[in-house]
Symmetry: C2
Subunit: 456 residues, 2 copies
């Protein structure tokens, strides 16, 4: 770990970039580390934004550390409102602009980390540039949206991904009338249809108007701002005061590409197991990359803060001269929508089919603890396993109880390649206030094993 006075530049001041910077600093106190963030804010909890907009958390609490904190506590220079215009790999320089003053400057690096995150996919339909139409990929978007929400009575959400659902809850809690449009046959298309239906029920129960199979064809306004959402189906038009687009994101790789950094089929920066790109000394981490997925046994883009932070940690170790490999993700995700916890680890049925893995699945319904305990909640688990070797492929969980616990156990089991038999025999905790003698996860594994052993 000898890299006296070496200069590290990190492009991007969120989960991946700041985790990398912090990890590198901890391993090597002599490094000079600068983080450049295009937005006026860095180091905030992206996942906390729906709760910020709902009023649960204020902006100060959303921000984990200020640039001054980074300087004082970790001797990391964090510069916000800085746009990096060019990376010159051969000269080991970046060219950047302070967006508040317009001032251009150059910075030298020995090693560079690209942690540029994502940009929103805006659908190619009329009206997306109308005032009142918002994407929601960062705090800048949220701060633009917040004041508009005050006057808005009717909100439309285009796309029923996890941010769309979290925002549906936030807006309902703020007293808005909320209409959610999803072009596919279900909300959260990453889940199986039977699990997604439970989510739809919860959304409707809480007053969200859910329209699936409804492709939005246009947003219309009166010049001043957006006023209605139009779909290609019988629904016609829905009046709105504000529109949120949850229509996907893609890796933000323009800067990387123009510097000669290679991107892959999924559109993300290609990295090796050490998070290094094709250009020596230039690393990438987080949602701008295509990183190794243990499930697919290949690199796939993944847009999660948890994955970004873990990649950032690995990149930070390697920026500091270690040789640490990224372990890979298993696609674990959870969200809350109203009283429901909703999540997944591993593959859904659609995903297992596209991977051409023959599989069986079983869905069970259970209470998450003894029925006589206050707070006992119903949960649904759906387990998928490979037909040939009985290996766990994925778990989906939805429910009014402790779903996170079962997903985390399944994620651990997936990581170590456990079979259904092993899952069914795990020595898990039990006491009536917190669980069942046979955990719902045991029962799901047993149900899948019965499917495998029964003929036909």
């Amino acid at each position: 770990v000898s890299s006296r006075g070496e200069k590290i530049v990190v492009v991007g001041g969120n989960a991946a970039g700041l985790t990398a910077a912090s990890r590198a600093r901890r391993l090597d106190p002599r490094l000079e580390i600068t983080v450049l963030e295009r937005a006026p804010h860095a180091a905030y909890s992206t996942c906390g934004i729906p709760y910020f907009l709902a009023g649960d958390v204020d902006q100060e609490s959303l921000v984990r550390m200020t640039p001054a904190d980074f300087q004082r506590e970790r001797q990391i220079e964090v510069l916000t409102s800085v746009r990096v215009d060019e990376v010159a790999p051969s000269r080991r320089r970046i060219l950047a602009t302070r967006t508040d003053t317009g001032e251009a400057f150059e910075a030298r690096f020995d090693r560079l980390l690209l942690a540029t995150g994502v940009v929103p996919n805006v659908p190619e339909i009329p009206g997306t540039d109308l005032p009142g139409v918002h994407t929601l990929v960062g705090l800048t978007d949220a701060l633009r949206l917040a004041p508009e929400l005050e006057g808005a009575a009717q909100a439309g959400i285009v796309g029923a991904g996890y941010v769309g659902l979290e925002m549906a809850e936030a807006l309902i809690r703020l007293g808005k009338k909320v209409t959610l449009f999803e072009g596919r046959d279900r909300v959260l298309p990453g889940l199986d249809a039977d699990m997604a239906r439970i989510v739809e029920y919860e959304l409707r129960r809480n007053g969200v108007r859910v329209h699936t199979h409804q492709k939005v064809t246009a947003l219309a306004g009166d010049g001043d701002r957006v006023r209605s959402i139009h779909t290609g189906r019988s629904l016609g038009s829905t009046p709105v005061d504000v529109v949120l687009l949850d229509t996907g994101v893609r890796p933000n790789v323009e800067l990387a590409r123009s510097a000669g950094v290679r991107t892959g089929e999924g559109g993300g920066i290609v990295v090796d197991p050490w998070m290094e790109t094709n250009l020596p000394g230039i690393f990438a981490a987080g949602n701008c990359t295509e990183a190794f997925s243990r499930l697919h046994a290949r690199a796939v883009p993944g847009y999660l803060g948890t994955v970004a932070a873990k990649q950032g940690r690995v990149a930070g170790e390697n920026l500091a001269g270690r040789r640490t490999q990224y372990a890979g993700s298993v696609g674990t995700i959870i969200l809350k929508a109203f009283d429901l916890a909703i999540g997944k680890t591993g593959l859904s049925s659609d995903e297992a089919q596209s991977e051409r893995i023959p599989f069986t699945s079983a869905r069970i319904e259970a209470l998450d603890r003894a029925a006589y305990f206050p707070g006992a909640g119903k949960i649904w688990l759906k387990v998928l396993a490979a037909t040939d070797n009985h290996r766990l492929l994925g778990l989906q969980g939805v429910g009014y109880g402790d779903v996170a616990r079962r997903l985390d156990v399944a994620a651990t089991a997936l990581t170590s390649g456990m079979t259904l038999e092993e899952l069914a025999n795990l020595d898990l905790t039990y006491t009536p206030p917190f669980g069942s003698l046979w955990d719902p996860l045991h029962r799901a594994a047993q149900a899948a094993l019965r499917n495998l052993s029964s003929p036909g």
Copy 2:
């Protein structure tokens, strides 16, 4: 699976015995299955007893299924109040007595399962036979205790194991004055002292008088009933109206031994991986056995319903003619005491030392979810790992939040032999309402890794 008309007799009608009977029935509808239970009750939730005594759950709800349910739903004959006096292996017969009528009878078996559970260890001190002194290993004990609690104002608990702590909470909630005596230096001696201290604080905060390092030397009474607890130390005597003995249990193996079934060093019935004893066709399962522990790589007694049920399931498969091996436990346990969840999986520091495994440990304190979320609670995790290969050895968790989740993940990681590095990189769930970007478990693993990498 061909065993037409074969006769299965199960001795013991709780977790292990009834799980085995039910599993055998499901696999083979032709078996004749009889379960003999000495007590007047079978099929109740032993773990629910403290909650029954506290008034949270009534007797009917504590009992999962009645003998009539077993007959109707599973064609299993469950006979209660039947004492098995003798097993005659060569004649394939058991000799039994109906304790309510005194009637003796014989029953033939092709395969026998011993699931006789445990008997309480009563300390060899004066006064344990006084009225008002109770052990608490089953519903019979609980039903004897319940009416006495009504008149009792002051309760003494001898032994601070998990039943002792659950009962301390139950009795405080019933408005009793509760004094807890433990001969060792801490409550829950299965935990490390630093973790046990957090538990002691919670007990005291809720009004339990906790006396550790206090060996009870005598119980004294006025002939009518117990009136005081005496210790060898300065404390002198403590007035009580009722005493609970939580002074350990041992495998109930008298019947087995007299039949020639071999028991081991831990006092439990020795079984092979198929839960068969040294006598062919005679199986044993549950807390009367010494079963394989993955942690010790040998058989150890374990007194938990979860383990009993899993052994019962394996025994049931083998009773029905399958050849299923028991996977082994990792010593996972959890309990609730007041607002605290307390648990462990794997080895404690004392246990790792007795196994002569060089290890490192790290304890962390964390919130179990984003601080701004209602219900966010502080938890403490202590992780132990082997110094040489960094393999996880155990996790202890105590806290006012979701401890079960972290224990279950650690139990899964232990089962698959994960290292600290793997634990630190697990792709676990995160959303602010349910967790942290870096889970407390990640942070505990990272802390232990720092200990391993720092000199000294």
